[in-house]
Assembly symmetry: C2
Homo-oligomer: 206 residues x 2
DNA sequence: GTCTATATCGGGATAGAC
DNA sequence: GTCTATCCCGATATAGAC
């Protein structure tokens, strides 16, 4: 593994663990047993590291969010959301200090907003595919509020979970986040699919 | 107004506007046209300011959250949530850099968790009062997931709104946040109360 | 590519006069 | 209570040797 990539890799880990603002370039270098000078040979400055990591996140998440023309079954939706959550968890430092990071690195602000919009589209696609199947019954306003809340949960679940649990050593619970998103759709579902969702949930959460 | 209070007041404003980590003690002093030395006469250090502001927030929000033994009507619930949102908005710097602040000022971590728990209790009270009235129909699991999501929305709506809109100058929209919370209850409501909620929403949002 | 040494800068905080 | 001056330190970033 090339040094440049090792720097990115370690930075990501430390950022996720301690929060980007709390991690210095010296700590990154120390963790890698290289000199700070070496780090600055590979990266002009700290923001270049963040920019690169964000770009990487962006391409991963866009990849995921572009696909879902038609995620028909509950099981597929569960999987889809789980992949989204996993990706966010991998780059959670962005979400944990979102306002801060967006205000200090203003180039990524529009890019993040675009991701939010894509999340919204994906949520709408999921719901509309259910509507088309006649499984989900809701009017326009309900649907819009539902999708907004889905995006909110997708965006903040991991931070929320961290505040409540992880800060004191407990494990992060992604599946629970997936559940919390789908639980918002549940009340609009037909009785049968609602039970099906319940089954799937129990299988993954217990 | 005593200098000490002016410091608190201005700090709160600057923190909310720019994010606590981006505001220096010098900036606070400058804004007040006092010297940094003067600031440090009134406060031992920056964290004492934050601590004091948090304490103030804590007492406001606890005051609100303690009341709701029985918030029966939709209209009352709207008002209650609006007050909660307003309080959070007033101290939004805490929420905007939540993970960061909780990790750097570890004394407030348990206190914030307690607030989260109270939010959860308040949400449960709201829902259960509706259940008792026979207005809301849901099983235990649905109810629990619902309340969790309500707390999540209450906690992060304002940050979410800021990321999407306010960072580029638009106004913050508290009523929309209230709506997003109540919209989660809506699908569980009886037809009649659901319509009623719709009316109230339209009155406040348009 | 990597190191050591160092410059620079900014923010937090203190000393001591008034 | 308030000011000016200053210290201290930690973080970013650079210079130059190897």
């Amino acid at each position: 593994m090339k040094t440049r990539d090792r720097i990115l890799h370690t930075s990501l880990q430390l950022f996720n663990e301690h929060g980007e603002p709390n991690v210095t370039t010296l700590q990154i270098a120390d963790e890698l047993d290289i000199s700070p000078g070496n780090l600055y040979y590979h990266f002009k400055n700290k923001s270049e590291i963040i920019d690169e990591l964000f770009t990487s996140f962006e391409s991963h998440i866009n990849n995921l969010l572009d696909v879902p023309e038609d995620i028909a079954g509950i099981e597929d939706q569960w999987l889809f959301l789980h992949l989204v959550f996993e990706t966010i968890a991998q780059y959670r430092f962005i979400y944990q200090d979102l306002v801060n990071i967006l205000s200090r690195y203003d180039k990524i602000q529009p890019r993040f907003k675009r991701i939010l919009n894509r999340k919204l589209s994906a949520s709408r696609n999921m719901c509309q595919s259910l509507v088309r199947q006649g499984i989900l019954l809701a009017n326009e306003d309900d649907l819009e509020a539902l999708c907004q809340n889905m995006v909110l949960t997708i965006t903040y679940w991991i931070s929320f979970d961290k505040v409540r649990n992880v800060l004191n050593g407990q494990e992060m619970d992604i599946s629970r986040g997936v559940y919390q998103v789908l639980a918002q759709i549940a009340p609009f579902l037909r009785e049968e699919e609602r039970r099906q969702l319940q089954m799937v949930s129990q299988a993954y959460i217990g």
